[in-house]
């Protein structure tokens, strides 16, 4: 897609930080920006098609819902990484799965209703893959705020 202009950037920041809980949220955004609702919708549509906006909606809080979540890692031989990654991707509750630049090379997150279920899934995965899975649940969350400031120029 063509480079973002200042209106696109303003839309992206509003969508991330200040998306109205309202019957016509895009109309409210348009009024705040001094442009038409149609333009807001069409610009958002373009940025979705371009893959920049993954989705618009909500993210629930794992802990408030009582779910158990953990970051897991394993040392998997290079030749078996793809196979292991596929097995991990198939597990319900896996949202992130990355190959990383460390001896512990596969890293994934697992979010399930209970700790017991996590333990069972990881034990089964260990026997399927024949590697040890290290589980590192959070003891304390200091920050989760995945907002990307699209208007500040930090080129310096």
């Amino acid at each position: 897609m063509p480079a973002l202009d200042s209106i696109d950037r303003q839309i992206l920041n509003l969508l991330q930080n200040d998306f109205p809980v309202a019957a016509q949220p895009f109309k409210i955004m348009a009024e705040r920006m001094g442009i038409s609702e149609g333009e807001v919708l069409s610009r958002i549509g373009s940025m979705k098609s371009a893959g920049l906006i993954r989705r618009i909606g909500g993210i629930m809080d794992t802990r408030s819902l009582g779910y158990y979540s953990t970051l897991c890692t394993a040392m998997v031989p290079d030749s078996r990484v793809d196979e292991a990654a596929e097995a991990i991707n198939r597990l319900p509750g896996v949202t992130h799965n990355y190959l990383r630049d460390h001896d512990y090379n596969l890293w994934f997150t697992l979010t399930v209703p209970t700790r017991e279920e996590a333990d069972r899934i990881l034990t089964e995965l260990e026997s399927e893959l024949g590697v040890e899975i290290v589980s590192m649940p959070a003891e304390k969350v200091f920050k989760i705020r995945v907002n990307f400031d699209m208007e500040t120029n930090d080129e310096d």
Binding site: N97, M136, K143
Partner: protein, 155 residues
């Protein structure tokens, strides 16, 4: 949080992608047989209670220009962890900061995800975070390949 069938319908909608149209709740309102206002009241309540952690757009940060990203794991003494964690959290470039239970084979217990537009900036942020927290033993663990990245769907 007590969840009834209306909440379930709302959760299904908002954990996905709202329809990109003037009245994104109109269809759900018809399906559930309740007013749009009732849907909005419930969403607002979830936000207040904190069960709805975030409301709005989820970006793909690479496409948004944030191409310099790293997981940085820091070794911190448990007694100093809270102070260090709160300092890390103040950096706008830090999206996630967690203290984790770790095994002896991986003694880096404070995890941060850091995002920047350029490598130079990423490394400058890491250096500043190290300086401000006094944590000098850390690993910069970059991703080589993304096998999966999705939003969790609950219920």
């Amino acid at each position: 949080m007590k969840i009834d069938s209306i909440d379930l319908g709302i959760l299904e909608l908002i954990q996905g992608d709202l329809p990109l149209q003037s009245q994104p709740f109109a269809e759900l309102s018809e399906q559930l047989g309740i007013d749009v206002d009732e849907i909005l009241v419930r969403i607002a309540r979830m936000r207040e209670e904190g069960t709805l952690r975030r409301w709005g757009a989820v970006l793909r940060h690479q496409q948004a220009g944030f191409t310099a990203n790293a997981m940085v794991a820091w070794k911190v003494d448990p007694a100093e962890a809270y102070q260090a964690g709160h300092k890390m959290a103040e950096f706008p470039e830090v999206s996630h900061c967690y203290l984790r239970q770790v095994p002896a084979t991986f003694p880096y217990n404070l995890f941060t995800m850091i995002h920047a537009r350029k490598d130079v900036k990423l490394h400058e942020v890491i250096a500043r975070a190290a300086n401000e927290t006094g944590l000098n033993d850390y690993l910069i663990i970059k991703s080589l390949k993304e096998f999966k990245k999705a939003s969790m769907k609950y219920v």
